[in-house]
């Protein structure tokens, strides 16, 4: 039977078991939306901006493990998607994004709402392709889903010109696809496994460095088993946080420029660094020459290109994290490293991450700790980017029923709210909490509407300091306290060269409470630390409506400890050494 491209598109989504589609209509996708009209098997969500749409699909994908699917129109629809695609691809999130395109006979003519979508997307996604004839449509969609979810997952963009959507053609959607240039290998090499085990056997001070790859491979149980079997302590990157229960006795903490003293010290002192699913980003290595200087480095990664890119690896093990850990579990033995573990536990006890007890306004640490208490299980926490994200990664507790979603690679402000919406849609029975700053919240504030109209009960925390806090902190610490353009309470009548926030500063714009209420959401303002828990509990109770909680925090609160930029991990600003807050 001959059917239109649009009909085949809908059939393809169903065959790929797509239950949720994040979509924003436009001129060049009108035929696809027509074919979706009244569709019962697919829940179609209409966010208010395409960037947020991509973040929502991203949050959905990260929290469910399924492929996030987007559909937007050509030109501005596609360009608005770019940040969301780059964010997801950077963190290896499986997504397929469909973009409308002007009819094939107009491509290259500077038609209305035409951009070279594939040319733009190519450098920020895993694969991008324009469908050039109707008979290829099914094969290309099949290929897109296959590429997105296999190997190192990523984003695939499929650009569909309007005439292809209309054209009649075959109704066959292929069952299988084979791509000669793309054969992802997930199996590990047995010889390399032996080398890893041999290196572990003689290790005196080994440490695990766990990245996001373990969470993506859903290898949390296997990792915990391996840790318990060998007794090797664990540090994580921000993306790897939650790979093992954060209350596990062998879990030390995060490493990196805002990581804990004990974690960073463990990496500096270890003799075998066993890393899984991390690409040794500059945020975690600090000065590269001094990173784990005395250690033999083992690196498990599914991406061969990640091996020895940033640091030289002694024993690479290419493959899926779960398969690698399972292969190791077969022959791994307990290690006699109690002295080393004791040493790390002492560092951990001696130098905990903590914020000052006396603070102006609400303490960010207390907010995250209250979230730990009120949302202790079956919860998904999303963060925005900036200080809110760093405090969250420092203090949030995660276990096998709790997940954290954060933009670790690209560091995209505006990620928190829309990703929480995607997570809630994918996990209606779980509690979803988003944590954002006042800057990031405003980058996608329009999504309050999406949360309200979809009747999503969520807790949306805004940590309001009236500053772009993370940049302000750098300005305070490394730029002579010149708060250049970071104050969000600045008015035209202010002195622009002001670095002195005080009680006479103009009020914060917007009024988050009124704004949330205007969207039909509930809103609570918290100005005292003792009211945090009450507000969170109230938000948790609210049914069918999101609750925004605005926490008025210290305007100049800092994220500490902090490794000095471009320095060795031992060159630290601890809370005590840094006289500011």
């Amino acid at each position: 039977m001959k059917i239109s491209g649009a009909k085949l598109f809908v059939e393809a989504l169903k065959k790929e078991k797509v239950d949720t589609l994040f979509a924003y209509p436009g001129g060049q996708t009108i035929d696809l939306f027509d074919a979706l009209y009244g569709e019962k098997e697919i829940n179609i969500i209409l966010p208010r901006h395409e960037q947020a749409l991509a973040h929502a699909a991203d949050g959905y994908a990260r929290s469910t493990g399924k492929v996030g699917v987007c559909l937007v129109t050509s030109g501005p629809g596609a360009t608005n998607l770019v940040t969301g695609i780059a964010t997801a691809n950077y963190d290896s999130v499986p997504m397929v994004c469909f973009t409308g395109q002007v009819p094939t006979n107009l491509i290259g003519n500077d038609a209305f709402q035409e951009v070279d979508t594939i040319g733009i997307m190519r450098s920020v996604c895993k694969y991008a392709v324009t469908v050039r004839n109707r008979e290829e449509l099914g094969k290309i969609i099949k290929k897109a889903f296959f590429i997105a979810r296999t190997g190192k997952p990523g984003v695939v963009v499929v650009d569909i010109p309007k005439d292809i959507q209309i054209a009649l053609g075959s109704d066959v959607y292929p069952e299988k696809v084979s791509i000669r240039g793309y054969k992802p290998n997930t199996d590990v090499h047995p010889m390399q496994v032996k080398r890893v085990l041999a290196a572990l056997k003689t290790a005196k001070k080994p440490v695990f460095l766990i990245g996001g790859g373990v969470n993506i491979a859903h290898a949390n149980k296997e990792l915990t088993k391996l840790v318990e079997l060998t007794g090797i302590p664990v540090v994580t990157t921000i993306m790897g946080k939650g790979a093992i229960d954060t209350n596990h006795e062998l879990y030390i903490g995060n490493i990196g420029i805002h990581g804990s003293y004990a974690s960073n010290h463990a990496i500096s002192e270890c003799d075998v660094l066993f890393s899984i699913g991390t690409r040794f980003n500059d945020r975690i290595t600090g000065k590269i020459e001094t990173f784990a200087k005395n250690a033999k480095i083992i690196h498990v990664d599914i991406d061969t290109a990640a091996i020895s890119r940033n640091i030289v690896v002694d024993i690479p093990l290419v493959g899926d994290a779960k398969k690698a850990i399972n292969a190791l579990l077969e022959n791994a033995k307990p290690l006699n490293i109690s002295e080393w573990v004791k040493q790390i536990q002492e560092w951990k006890k001696e130098y905990p991450i903590e914020m000052p007890k006396e603070v102006k306004g609400v303490s960010p640490q207390k907010i995250i700790e209250a979230i730990n208490k009120v949302f202790d299980k079956n919860a998904i926490i999303t963060t925005d980017v900036g200080q809110n994200q760093l405090w969250t990664t420092q203090f949030l507790e995660l276990n096998s029923t709790k997940k954290m979603l954060t933009s670790g690679g690209l560091g995209t402000m505006g990620y928190g709210l829309p990703s929480a919406i995607g997570a809630k849609i994918g996990n209606p029975t779980k509690d979803v909490v988003s944590i954002a700053g006042d800057g990031g919240m405003q980058m996608n504030i329009q999504e309050m509407a999406t949360a309200v109209v979809n009747e999503l009960p969520m807790t949306l925390c805004v940590l309001n300091n009236g500053y772009l806090g993370n940049v302000r902190q750098w300005q305070e610490m490394f730029y002579n306290k010149q708060y250049s353009l970071t104050c969000l309470r600045y008015r035209k009548s202010c002195n622009q060269a002001c670095s002195n926030p005080n009680k006479d500063c103009p009020p914060f714009i917007p009024d988050f409470i009124k704004l949330a209420e205007s969207y039909g959401a509930k809103a609570i303002r918290v100005t005292k630390t003792e009211d945090i828990e009450k507000a969170l509990k109230e938000a948790k109770k609210n049914k069918r409506v999101p609750t925004l909680i605005e926490f008025i925090i210290d305007r100049e609160a800092n994220v500490l400890p902090m490794v000095k930029p471009r320095k060795f991990f031992r060159q630290y600003y601890s809370r005590i050494q840094w006289k500011g807050r």
Binding site: I118, G119, R122, S123, K126, Y127, V129, T130, R132, I147, G151, K152, I179, R180, G181, Y182, D303, T304, A305, I307, S308, R309
Partner: protein
């Protein structure tokens, strides 16, 4: 580790729109510089074959190969740097404002270096030279000594294939 030298690589890629942009984009996005790149279809019209020459250190080179290997459009990557191959590059050199003495000199050079004179008038000469990239470099250098500022150079980029018996690169 930082062994900076000339490299050659052969890529078999899907013959589809945008693949050249993808490959050259990989170089530019990682801030690697291409010296020459040639593309053409093969005996299988769905496959194109590229020969790329560039200068890099070992670490960068390893990274480039890995990046290609993981690209969906790339079917096969062959490193030509240290294996026996046949390599040729076409080079046109047009020399203008030639005196009688110049012409004699050019004919002599052409004779010795196996260069063909493919076009000619009373003041200009067009040379065609199909040699390896290194020999072409040397010929250009030689001609520049005498004919600087009145030479026009057109280089075609390297094509190469694995040797059967005797290599020539």
């Amino acid at each position: 580790m930082n062994n900076v030298k000339k490299r050659w690589i052969c890529l078999f890629v899907e013959n589809e729109i945008g693949v050249l942009a993808r490959i050259s984009g990989l170089f530019s996005s990682k801030a690697y510089n291409i010296d020459t790149i040639t593309v053409g279809t093969t005996e299988d019209t769905t496959v194109s074959r590229m020969t790329i020459s560039f200068t890099s250190d070992d670490k960068t080179f390893e990274q480039i190969k890995k990046q290609f290997n993981r690209s969906v459009e790339v079917i096969k990557v062959v490193d030509y740097t240290d294996i026996p191959i046949h390599m040729k590059e076409i080079l046109f050199v047009k020399i203008n404002h030639c005196s009688e003495k110049d012409k004699k000199e050019i004919f002599r050079i052409a004779d010795i270096f196996n260069i063909t004179i493919v076009d000619y008038n009373y003041t200009s000469i067009l040379l065609e030279c199909t040699q390896t990239e290194d020999i072409n470099d040397a010929i250009i250098k030689l001609l520049q000594e005498k004919f600087m500022n009145r030479m026009e150079i057109t280089r075609g980029g390297v094509v190469a294939t694995e040797a059967i018996g005797v290599a020539n690169k």
